[in-house]
Amino acid sequence: MSSTSTTTTAVTLVTPMRPAEGPWRRAWRQFIHQRSAIIGMAIIGVLVFTAIFAPWIAPFDPTEVLLGKEEGIQKRSGPCLHLFGCPPDRPQHIMGVDGNFRDLFSRVIYGARLSLFIGFVTVSISVAIGVLLGAVAGFVGGWVDNVIMRVLDVVLAFPFLLLAIAIVSVLGPGLLNAMLGIAIVSIPAYARVIRASVLSAREEEYVLAARTIGLGPLAILFGHILPNAISPLIVQATLGIGTAIIEVAALSFLGLGAQPPTPEWGSMLSAERNQVFTAPHLVFFPGLAIMLTVLGFNLLGDGLRDALDPRLKV
């Protein structure tokens, strides 16, 4: 009898306490309370949706030349929406028609696919190489660290885009080479982030503990140090996706990236840039698409930084 009553008391004492909140859960809670992060997520959500469902959203094939297939189509004609008072005898094109009689809206929609692909692949390449170099430099130290970091310093001494241009010239113009060029040029940023984290983690007690129980250097590096260095990397990579998209578009703009008729936003802009005074819509929409995409990743990156790195909170 008395024992039951003790148990009941114990239960009432325990129930009001909630389980401790893990760091990821806390980060998530902080993350979803930020306006910028939410907006960023929303933009990227729309983008991903557009990319997946592009064939259903786009009214035309992005490379289809409509001359002769559609009555009354005019080269570089402006946006025409019947809903907004465009005469019903003219064919409807939400963002107008480009210099090759293609529907600009369809091209911009398909461009979302390419841009996401460009952003993720480019950043993945530089993260993979950057993490490896940074981790080795920080963990091994000594002359290895010195050599790696000085080589990366040389990369940083070049203006970003010019080095990328030179690399693409070596490899030959094309979308994949442009992505590779931008990826190579971005390596130092990731290597530095990881190296800094590794350096500070190397002296932590949990690393000492791991060493004491006899773990090898690789197990310590991959099992204990890198997982603790992951949050600054996530932030850097998210912001890097935006940068990669903008820089690859810049290379395409210079004619070194995606080649026509690929519906890539930068090359679409490049193709019509001399028409900016007569057909500004052909420059405006692809550029707006680039800007919104990059904005989405930047906002998301900022939100992640505030959520994952409590030290940076003002």
């Binding site: 001494a157 885009l161 010019l162 840039r273 500004p280 420059v283 930047n298 003002v314």
Partner: protein, 358 residues
Amino acid sequence: MLRYTLRRLIVAVPVLFGVLLVTFVLVRLIPGDPCTAQLGEKATEAICARFNAEKGLDKPIPVQFGIYIRDVLQGDLGTSIRFNRPVTQLIAERLPVTLELGFFALLLACIVGVPLGIIAALRRNSAIDVATMVISNVGVSMPVFWLGLMLAYMFALLLKDTPFQLPPSGRLTAGVTSVPFYVVWGWEVDLKSGFGQVLQFFANMYLFNSLITFQWEVFRDALRHLILPAMALGTIPMAIIARMTRSSMLEVLGRDYVRTARAKGLADVVVTIRHALRNALLPVVTIIGLQLGTIFSGAVLTETIFNLAGVGRILYDAISTRDYPIIQGFTLAIAFSYVMINLLVDLSYGFLDPRIRY
């Protein structure tokens, strides 16, 4: 401070050497050779052999590199294959264009960005603050080439025949010429000499040149041509500077010494500027220094759009025509400017914060 400066310059030598080595190897990896790129159809084997012998391109690459390094140490950056002119002369002609554009763009970025950041921090969470954050977020996401084209469209076409109309290309209106200051002042200079090239370098910064010689018509014209490219190039740095100023000010405004300054009855303006801003500027200056990369990279795009004969343009053309000496020389010049400007930035810390001693 002198010792620190010297040490920094010595540390820069291996980096500059690395830059030279990488450039030297990289340009030779670009498919195609200068001879075919220059002569096109006429490039037969015999002609190319003579061409290469003339330019010293027939020697083994390590030997070429040795010769190049020897020449560079003597201040000779070689001769452009395409223009057949000394690279130093071309640098004296082109680098000022980019430096002037970059300087003006950064100036614009600071003039707008710093006050915007201060006001946003002082009126935290107000409409101005939110607007500043929106502007800076949108600003950093803007592709330079798109912004440039849109600005050209807006100011050259939409605002045509209004006082805000601005020219969308070139450095001066046809018919306007900037007379070099050494000509105005009647100096006898040998333009081929090193000194003459330094003078040309400064004279080619039209704003600077017309300012010191009181050619106001030229100054006004050059300024009007510079505004659009500078706006395009300066927007990203402006956004970053505004954001940095804001967060740095917010941090400083919460400090004890700011509260003390307020408590002893100092005017708000004095507290903001003398006590808070001066301390908040340190990270801002660092960020400004870091924008140089953005500026030089953006210059390639801006110069393409606004038809400016600057470094970005000539380098881009040189890569496609395999003009090795130009690529090498200009890359070295850019890397050197980088090192120098970063050194100036670091030295300015001591000026902003007397606690920092070198």
